[in-house]
């Protein structure tokens, strides 16, 4: 419908072309029977047209999102309107719906096809698999379709929408025990359980700002929780790395490729356990006794390197649980934060009561003290870690910091100091003439 020369350029090249895909959808919609669509037929074409305009102008043509949603929920829909509604009437409304993905994003085709049918009928047919937070994102529909879509999602698919706004956002997790030998706890189960348990927090904004929870099964961090969740659960262990000495020998002899063959594309030479494992161990806590590999587990910081290099020979311990880190966020406002280790170790077993207790304590504190649009991490920075710990009732341990403070500006409190802070200048002057 519109001339899109720059976009068509993007049909070239080996990487899957979103333009080619969009054009196939546009074509499909052209051919589709009218009663199979409740949204304008040329919605995809208008979207592409406006995109080309954006390239030409070097500026987006979407207006600031208005507040739209489904009844009783405070999130899950992002309102979106074109600022060129005359030129692109089919995308005048172009709201997205965030569908709460199943844990670690396994699907069956039944589910996906049903979504596709629904979205072809009531939406643009365009989507994101997946959004950055983890949702299955349905891109572009009109306000009047929102309720019917929600109805079908819940009644037909038994499936809820995800989060947006000042509430709990859709939690997400790594693949964990489903297909990973490193998982130290059941990421899917914990993710699912907490998502269900905190549905109210997810749908009804009661927080100062957004709150994200993510679950990594081990310190490799495949869902990047440490960088982008207000509360990050990362699997770990407190006993010893399990060693299969026979498998160690298999690596030493070259029988098994190191690191699950992840470096096979280049000739890095023969596997050198000294250089590649012992030498890179950040704590240098590994050593060989003859051909036996030994680990001083007291010194190990469970960085996963040796386990990654020799997955067949080394495994995380069996006394497993999670480290809980708090406060990651993107740069807005005062700069990005990574999550900070607050609970070095906690068991993570159903029904996860101690985890829920902890979450609620943190929320209580944040709701109480947080300013509007203040992320947990920002609040922690503002009031300081010592006060934060005191408020949520955690004992300070050196594991929470990289190093103790360098400045001597300790904020003593009156109760710490014998005699208190009320002093008498006359008593002072009786000792010291002015």
């Amino acid at each position: 419908k519109h001339a899109i020369p720059d976009l068509e350029e993007l049909e070239n090249g080996p990487w899957p072309s979103f333009v080619a895909d969009a054009k196939q959808e546009a074509l499909h919609r052209r051919k589709l029977a009218g009663n199979r669509m409740l949204i304008e037929r040329d919605v995809v074409e208008d979207m592409l047209g406006q995109l080309q305009d954006s390239f030409d102008d070097g500026e987006t043509h979407w207006k600031h999102g208005g507040i739209v949603g489904v009844f009783g929920y405070g999130g899950g829909i992002i309102g979106r309107y074109s600022d060129q509604p005359e030129k692109y009437p089919s995308i005048a409304h172009f709201h997205t719906i965030r569908v709460n993905q199943p844990a670690s994003k396994f699907y069956n085709t039944d589910f996906l096809r049903t979504i596709c049918d629904l979205w072809e009928y009531r939406g643009s047919g365009l989507m994101n698999l997946h959004g950055s937070t983890g949702d299955l994102v349905l891109l572009g529909t009109t306000t009047e379709q929102l309720e019917p879509i929600f109805f079908e999602l819940t009644h037909v698919l038994g499936q809820d929408i995800g989060g947006s706004g000042s509430n709990l956002r859709t939690p997400s997790c790594c693949i964990g025990k489903a297909r990973c030998e490193f998982a130290c706890y059941d990421t899917q189960d914990l993710c699912y359980e907490l998502t269900k348990y905190y549905q109210d927090e997810l749908h009804r904004p009661a927080f100062p700002y957004k709150f994200k929870i993510k679950f990594d099964g081990c310190p490799n961090g495949c869902v990047a929780s440490i960088a982008r969740s207000d509360m990050s659960f990362i699997g770990t262990w407190r006993d010893n790395i399990r060693i299969d000495q026979k498998a160690v020998k298999a690596y030493l002899s070259g029988e098994v490729e190191p690191n699950g063959s992840a470096h096979q594309g280049r000739d890095w030479g023969k596997f050198d356990i000294q250089k590649e494992v012992l030498g890179l161990c950040p704590t240098k806590c590994m050593y060989l006794e003859g051909n036996e590999l030994k680990i001083d587990n007291q010194e190990c910081t469970r960085c996963m390197h040796c386990i990654n290099v020799m997955p067949m020979a080394l495994k995380p311990g069996i006394d497993n649980g999670v480290s809980i880190l708090l406060g990651a966020k993107a740069p807005i406002l005062a700069g990005a934060q990574m999550a900070t280790l607050i609970v070095p170790f906690m068991k993570a077993e159903p029904p996860y009561d101690s985890i829920k207790d902890f979450i609620e304590k943190v929320w209580e504190f944040w709701i109480e003290e947080g300013k509007n649009r203040e992320r947990l991490g920002e609040l922690m920075q503002r009031i300081g870690l010592p006060k934060f710990l005191a408020t949520i009732g955690l004992r300070p341990v050196p594991q929470m910091v990289k190093n103790p403070r360098e400045n001597p500006y300790i904020l003593w409190q009156e109760k710490d100091v014998p005699g208190g802070w009320s002093r008498d200048i006359d008593a002072y002057r009786s000792r010291h003439k002015s």
Binding site: D6, L10, E11, N12, G13, P14, W15, P16, F18, A20, D21, A22, Q24, L51, F55, G58, E59, T60, W62, H64, F71, G72, N100, Q101, P102, A103, K105, F106, Y107, N108, T109, L112, C116, L129, S132, G140, E147, F150, T154, Q159, D160, I175, A178, R179, C180, Y192, H203, V223, A224, A227, S261, A262, H263, G265, C303, I332, A334, G335, A336, M338
Partner: protein, 366 residues
């Protein structure tokens, strides 16, 4: 009436029902894995079962037609199951080598009419995986660049690294179209970031109607916004332009303060971040190219800079060494020498914790 018989707070469907049988049977029992070839993983269970994973690249922006094609494949080879990774790749899982071979062949042949792959296999091990990204001009109101097009351009160029495992370690490339950074861009090996360079324009005529002025003022992290009156006496705001750092937070709070601009907007490149706790602690990416133009649709300057970084890294880093660890080992001064990127004053921190980046030592390389 969609409000009748309302069902709410259902949450997501339970994950178990979406696990193929081999996953259900071996849940939590995997003992090791191996990358058979780029994009193909095998995981071995203590039961003796093996699951083969074919990882395919994907533009996460997809149409229902494309998803239906995915479903067709899953139905044909994978008993109707499929999954998506945390970096938006598609994973097809099969339980035998035979199925694997058939599936691979099928996937390799599927192309869009224009010739680009629909399901390129790759993204494992010491290579480049899918570039995670955000909405850009496709759906957002605050971008300083477009996402999908830039990602397509860069991915085309890096395609060989997607389909091979020749790098010293994983290199995670991420893209976000504004400083809101909807993703983990701040901790990526290479991050592409839309960035504004002009302070907001104040739409004096409408601001008092469409915004809560005090909220807009409070939104500015550097206090550049203050209340004002127009000559007609309307309430508005004024902006200390020389203080503005173009974060766009005021625009998020108030649509009468747009800041996007064709000449102002462009791309900042960061490098050397990481997420994993492997060997070194997670770390933030550092700004290594302050600004490149939005040269739609293929962003040649951006692509070139990415390639420079990648090639210098590949040539210089040790096995297992992430990009940021390499840069720290050789020193950032050498990073600029080896990549050929220019070091400018814009790369020197002058924000809140800036002092911590200053070199308080005589240790340096010439």
């Amino acid at each position: 009436d969609p409000l009748k018989d309302r069902l709410t707070d259902l949450g997501p469907r339970h994950f178990w029902q979406y696990f193929p049988p081999i996953i259900q049977n071996n849940y939590g029992r995997w003992i090791y894995h191996d990358v058979l070839e780029p994009g193909i993983l095998v995981h071995v269970s203590e039961t003796g079962d093996k699951v083969y994973t074919v990882r395919c690249g994907a533009a996460r922006f997809m149409t229902v037609q494309h998803v239906r094609e995915i479903c067709d494949i899953a139905d044909q080879y994978c008993e109707g199951y499929v999954r998506f990774t945390t970096r938006n790749n598609i994973e097809f899982l099969v339980d035998s080598l035979d199925k694997l071979e058939a599936l691979k062949k099928d996937l390799a042949n599927r192309k869009f009419v224009s010739g680009s792959y629909k399901f390129p296999i790759g993204g494992t091990g010491a290579g480049i995986s899918n570039i995670v990204h955000t909405q850009g001009y496709i759906h957002c109101h605050t971008p300083a660049t477009d996402a999908s097009s830039m990602v397509k351009a860069v991915s085309d160029e890096l395609f060989k690294y997607f389909q091979s495992m020749t790098l010293p370690a994983k290199v995670r490339v991420s893209m976000a179209c504004c400083l809101n950074m909807c993703g983990a861009v701040h901790c990526s090996d290479i991050a592409l970031l839309g960035n504004h360079r002009k302070p907001p324009i104040v739409d004096h005529k409408v601001i008092d109607k469409v915004c809560e002025i005090p909220l807009a003022i409070a939104a500015c992290p550097v206090g550049a916004i203050s209340p004002d009156k127009t000559s007609e006496g309307y309430k508005t705001v004024k902006i200390k332009k020389e203080r503005c750092m173009f974060c766009g937070n005021c625009y998020t709070m108030c649509q009468a303060l747009p800041l996007s601009d064709k000449e102002g907007d462009g791309v900042t490149i960061l490098a050397g971040g990481k997420i994993s706790n492997r060997v070194s602690m997670p770390k933030f990416s550092k700004v290594v190219v302050p600004w490149l133009p939005n040269n739609f649709p293929r962003f040649p300057e951006v692509v070139e800079a990415v390639v420079k970084i990648l090639e210098a890294y590949t040539a210089g880093a040790n096995k297992y060494e992430r990009l940021g660890d390499w840069a720290e080992r050789i020193g950032w001064e050498k990073f600029f020498e080896k990549t050929g990127l220019e070091f400018t004053d814009h790369l020197i921190d002058d924000y809140r914790l800036a002092y911590d980046t200053w070199r308080t030592s005589t240790q340096f390389k010439y």
